[in-house]
Every structure is written in C-alpha cells, then in structure tokens.
Subunit: 418 residues, 2 copies
C-alpha cells in the first residue's frame, strides 16, 4: 500500500530478494511518487549522530550516487551541501558532537564570518533592525557545511525504482485507495463476529475504493495515512501526521545568491538553514527559484487533511521576517507558488518504524527524512519480510532489523539538531 | 483538567506542596471520579518486573493501606489477591522472572493442581470439550497468587482526595468541559497569527463549554481525552484511546465461588485471570456479583467515542466460551449489567507519561493501571510542577521524574505479562 518513495523501495527490495513472488503495489494517485514524495524539498544529508540515522542516510545517499554514476540513471543528485549558519551557542552544540561524526566519516567544512561575507555578499551576519531584535535573531558566528549532502529529484528516484520493479515483473495499480485492512482469525470458524479475543489474528487483505484485494502479506507504506489504516484495527504505529509547507520564491535579486561560488562544484548556494526558527531554503537552479520552508512544532496540529493547502500568511509572518533580515535579497518577494504535504512524524525518536505484526509489514515514521533514508528502509523492510534478523544496506553495512521495530526499539538519541 | 483519579491525585499533591497556590480542578462530569475512573474494575497489584511500575504501584497501594488503616478512611481496599491460573508454558515464563520480583519484596504464593481442585471445586483444570479444543484452551498447570494485591473502591479513593484537596482550599468546578488549549507567544506582540514559529510558546488557558479559563500552569489529566486536547496543538503524548468493557454476572451458581476459602482473609476468590484470552473476573461481594472482562488488542480500534457502550456479543463470543469452560458455574448466566470506558493506552511501554512542556504538565498514558499507580503519579506530577528532578513516593522511595517524561524516558521493559 503506497507507491511513494518508501513503498517503491520496499517493493523493489522485496521483489529483488524474492524474484518469484507476485507483488502488487497500489496507490491512490495516478503514478508513483505523486503524494508527499513529490511535495518534499528533497534534500539529503548524512550528518547524524545516531548510528541508525547515519547508516540509513549515508547508505541511501551512496546508493543514489551509485545509481547515478555507475548505472547511469540521472537522479539529479547534486552534492551542493547543507549549510548551517549558526549562532555562537549553536556552534558550541555542534562542536560537542563534531568529532564523533568526523570519526564516522562524515565530512564537514567550517566557514568563518570573513569567508561567509566574501562568499555570500547578500548575507547579513549581524541583524540589527528593530524587527530582528524583536524576533531575537542572533549574529551568525560561523557556518558548517555538510559536504556529502545535497538535493535530489524525487520524481527521478521514484522512476528508477518503478522501472526496476517493473523489469522484475512487479505490478502497479493506480487510482486504488486503501480504505481499511481486514483483520481475521488465523483459523477461521465462520462464526459471527470473528476474530475473537482468543484467536490469533491475520490480515487477509484490504478494502479499497475499487473493491477488496486479498494478499498473503500486506506492506503498509502509506506515509502520513498509515494511522488512518492502523488505528481502526487497533495498532499504534507511533506516527502522527503534521502539515508542512513549501514556498517557491523567484526574483532577479536572487541571481547572485543562486550562483554563489566556493561551496560546491555546481557553483550554487547550498541547501541553507538559518540560525532562527529553522527557516531553510533550497536553490532550484532549473526553475531559477528557491524553495523555502520552516517546520513549526507546538501549535501546528497533528491532523490529517485530504487536500492540505499552504498558507501565504505562514510565509509572511513566520518565514519572511527571518529570511529577509539575514538575506535582504529576499525582501519584497512573494511566493510565486506554494504547496503543502504531511510529514509522518514519529515524535519518539524521529526515526523510521519498520516492523512486522503477524503478516503485515509496516514502514512508516519517516518524520521528514524519508527520501534520504528510503533505500535503507526498503532493505530493512525486505529483511523483515523474510524474517531475517539483519538487513544488509548498500555498501555492505549491516543493521539489526529489530532496532527500528516497535518491540525492542533501539535507535539512540539524535544529537545533531541545530 | 480532569477530576478523575489522576487529576485528583495531581491536584492534591501539588496543593500539598504549594499550600498558597490557587488550584482549580475542572471536569465535565458533575462530581469527582465519574469518568473512566468509575468504570474501572479497580483491581490493584504490585506484581511488576519494571522498577518504575513496581515503585508506582507498590507505593500507591501502601498509601491506600495507610489511608485506610492509619487515617481511618475506608477505601474498601481488600487484599484478596490476584490469582493467575496458568498453563505450563505461562508458568515457565513466570518462573523466569519470579526470583527477581521476590527479591524486590513482592510476595507470591504458588498453588498446585491438587490444591486448586480442593480450594475451587468449580474449576475445570483440564478443559476437554470440543469447544475448548477449538479455542485452544490449555490445562491449568499451577496458580500464582500475588498476595499484596486486591481491589479498591475508586469512588472512595476519589472522595478521599477530593476531601483532602478541599480542606487545603482547593477548588472544583464541575460540568466544565475543556475544549481546547490556547497556545500563545511567551512575549506577545499583538500581531495577527501569533504565535509564530520563531516565538517561544506558552499555554495561556483553556476554552471550555462555559467560556475561557486562564491559568498560570495547566495540568492535563484528561485520561483518554488527552489526545483530543493535545493533537490540535501539535503535541504527541503517545496515548491512544481504546474501549474496554465490563460485564456484571450474578447467579446462585456462583455462590460457592464467591465464598471460596484459603486465599485471603475475606474468604472470597481472588481477582482471577484465566490462562486464555486474558479473561478475568473480580468478585464484588457487596453486589453478590462478578465483574468480568477481557482486553482485546488487534482488531479493537483506537477510537474515542463520547458514549461508549458495552457489546453483549463481546461477552457471548469472546469471554463466555472461555469463562464457562474453566468455570462451568458461569454457564447459562448472562450479564445483568455492563458498561464501557476507555483506557488511555501508551503502546510504547504501558507506563504513565508525566512531563512538562513549557507551562503545561501532562499526566497520562495509564494504560489501564491508573488507579493502582495514581498516588505515585500525583507525586511525580507535583515534582514536575516544582521542576524538581526527583519525586519522593509514599514510604520514602525516590524516582527520577525524567524517567517517565517524554524526552529522556527510561522505564524499562515490563516482563510480567501472563
């Protein structure tokens, strides 16, 4: 269930491990990767302190590199870097964890204020306006670039997995929306009201808007819709949906920022995170625009909507004041486009939940970092499918599947939160 | 918010620690303890392997003993025991953890088959009917009695805390239903759409069916309604509501079971758990009846309803077949009464969640064992209120408050699941 990036990766890896298995992927959209996958800003990074996050992200990025450079399938993977513009306090937090990450092979470069002024002439290091004081905007003390980070095209990644899955004989049906999962007794007695409390349970299939589909195994990769399927059958997947918004900004005043040199071979400004409010922007060179966002936490409801809409006022009052103070080249520009989707947030540890419950496999809880972890998630889902205790990630590193399961979860605490 | 057992204990302990503080407890009912507290089967036990569960339950039971015997306030606490009738396999599971619990001072008594036959002549140790084979009912291999376990009257406990809270000057308003929590900026600018993503958040008060109530600190002890208040403001409390049902059974064929000797000084059968389906019964001597139930897991939705109703068919098909095979004295008896309420289930570790988020304190996630842990929960909530790192439980034992918080949670795994 679900032909987003997670459903595609799971289907691909399960099919690869089980070539004779008949796999049907259903999705409510008309093509793969058209839900929240398509709405992502699609930035990928390997800068995590938790081993699970690091393994998931770095092996997935490595796989994308492999697909692009060795298999010759263009994913628009551009390692333009992540650039954290940090306050003095934030930098101290970074210093405390930097060494551990470097030892794990994560590559960083640090920039001093002087370099930043030179490289990004549009940047205001010391906001001093009345507004910036009200907001509580700190001076930029340094910048930290994650070098093996960048951006991808989710559509291309979806296309890659779709093609490969189809080549192996995998099937899709689109326009099919999973409505409810049918729970039944493992040993049915054909009595009213089964399954009973004393019967072992099994999941027979799924009711859809086009009738019932039965299956030997169900794989739920429905993103933020997962609780809509699991709550009714009494399974807690530790995921709640939260709306996230992206605003597209375009203007000639941004040309210099777009063609920033000194950070990457693409000669563009990295995916950049400002020191306040989590405001970030991603250059989209093909569109000559920037995608801009900021994740709100308390106050933003956990609530699913069928057709989420981006709120212009969210840009105006939450993002713009910060963005335009640090980077006045954004001043007076309004969004030319905007969209909204949902994160499937696991508030517990912001790490994927992959597990088996009877004959149902879950892959959910991406918490906003699904695209950068998708290949690893698919491999763990395939291991869980075969009841293997370990998954072998791209590059040969291994991870115990139970670490991301519900029962014996052990993902550790992520300390890289700038 | 909430004058159930958890709200009452929290209000009492916060008021006790802060005598000059003005505390208002609101509840949608017309009196304390009228929600899910009143619907509980109100059995209490100290038989847990996890330190947190054990500390919470045993200190709370000790406090109830103290209230009843030393303060002379009758809580109808009767230590009739918990009696697990176990299969051979279940007993092996128990043996693996028994020693650890005994070392922690938890008192057990084990009964052999011969003793059980003698003490409970109504009991069928080896179900052999066609039906029992279909259900997969095991022979009873032994029984394990938790000695410092029993039953209480939730109404009396609620009354005790209500009285004490009022004596200290605490106030109640009933018929007031919390509808939504008002999130605001800590430093308000009086601009449209506050709070913004870059503002620190504070909770100003609560909208109710009788207008707005502002408060310096909010304490949410709303049981299964907690997510209804927290989801809209984007806080995940790791709790989902699940319906639970109780059926009252009465009949002269149960008289002998009701007056079972040899287990306790009350000369009644303990609160008893059968080896299959989690079916349990509690003797209610004052009513000359038994309360019977069984907790269903997969298949029972996580879904809140305003007026949950017990389903007679749930008794007929889920409980009765097991109950009447092991104890034919229940044969042909139908429920004379039934009711349903909600557990506030924390699927992660079935242990309370007590934490502070800004000026809002949560006490939720009782998962069906709220009454037996309530006093300890109230003391931890009071410690969290004062930003103290440790709570002192009744009897002087201490617990770090952060162990049951959301961020650095460390409650361990409960292994006593028979």
């Amino acid at each position: 269930m679900g032909a987003g990036i997670i459903g595609l990766c799971s289907a691909y890896h399960i099919k690869k491990d089980n070539p004779n298995l008949s796999i049907l992927v259903i999705d409510r959209s008309s093509a793969p990767g058209q839900g929240d996958t398509a709405k992502s800003v699609a930035a990928v990074r390997d800068t995590f302190t938790s081993e699970v996050n690091r393994l998931f992200a770095s092996s997935t990025i490595d796989f994308y590199k492999h697909v692009q450079s060795e298999l010759g399938f263009n994913l628009n993977l551009e390692l333009i870097g992540y650039l954290w513009l940090v306050s003095e306090k934030q930098f101290k937090g970074f210093e405390a964890i930097e060494d551990g990450m470097r030892k794990q092979g994560i590559r960083f470069r640090t920039f001093e204020r002087e370099e930043l002024t030179q490289l990004i002439p549009d940047l205001v290091l010391d906001p001093a306006s009345e507004q910036s004081k009200i907001i509580g905007m700190d001076s930029i003390f340094k910048a930290v670039q994650g070098l093996d980070c960048g951006t991808v095209s989710p559509e291309s990644i979806a296309k890659f997995y779709e093609n490969e899955f189809k080549k192996m004989g995998g099937e899709f049906q689109f326009g099919i929306e999973a409505k409810s999962i049918r729970v039944d007794a493992k040993n049915r007695l054909d009595l009213p009201g089964e399954p009973y409390v004393w019967q072992d349970k099994v999941f027979r299939g799924v009711e859809t808007n086009h009738g019932y589909i039965s299956a030997e195994t169900l794989v739920i990769a429905a993103g933020s819709r997962t609780p809509l399927l699991l709550d009714p059958i009494g399974i807690d997947c530790f995921v709640k949906p939260k709306k996230r918004q992206v605003f597209q900004i375009r203007g000639s005043s941004l040309d210099r920022l777009m063609t920033t040199k000194g950070f990457n071979e693409q000669n563009t400004v990295p995916f950049t995170i400002l020191p306040k409010g989590g405001v970030y922007f991603r250059p989209v060179r093909g569109e000559r625009s920037f995608w801009v966002g900021a994740a709100d936490d308390i106050g933003r409801p956990f609530r699913f909507e069928e057709e989420p809409i981006a709120e212009e006022s969210y840009y105006t009052y939450n993002i713009y004041p910060i963005l335009s103070e640090y980077l006045p080249c954004f001043a007076n520009l309004r969004p030319v486009n905007s969209w909204a989707g949902f994160y499937d947030i696991n508030s517990l540890d912001s790490t994927p939940v992959i597990d088996r419950i009877s004959n149902c496999i879950l892959a959910t809880g991406m918490s906003g970092s699904g695209i950068m972890k998708a290949d690893a998630v698919g491999r763990v889902a395939a291991a869980v499918f075969k009841d293997e205790s370990e998954a072998v990630l791209f590059g040969g590193r291994r991870i115990s599947a139970s670490r991301v399961g519900l029962t014996n979860r052990s993902v550790g605490k992520e300390e890289f939160v700038l």
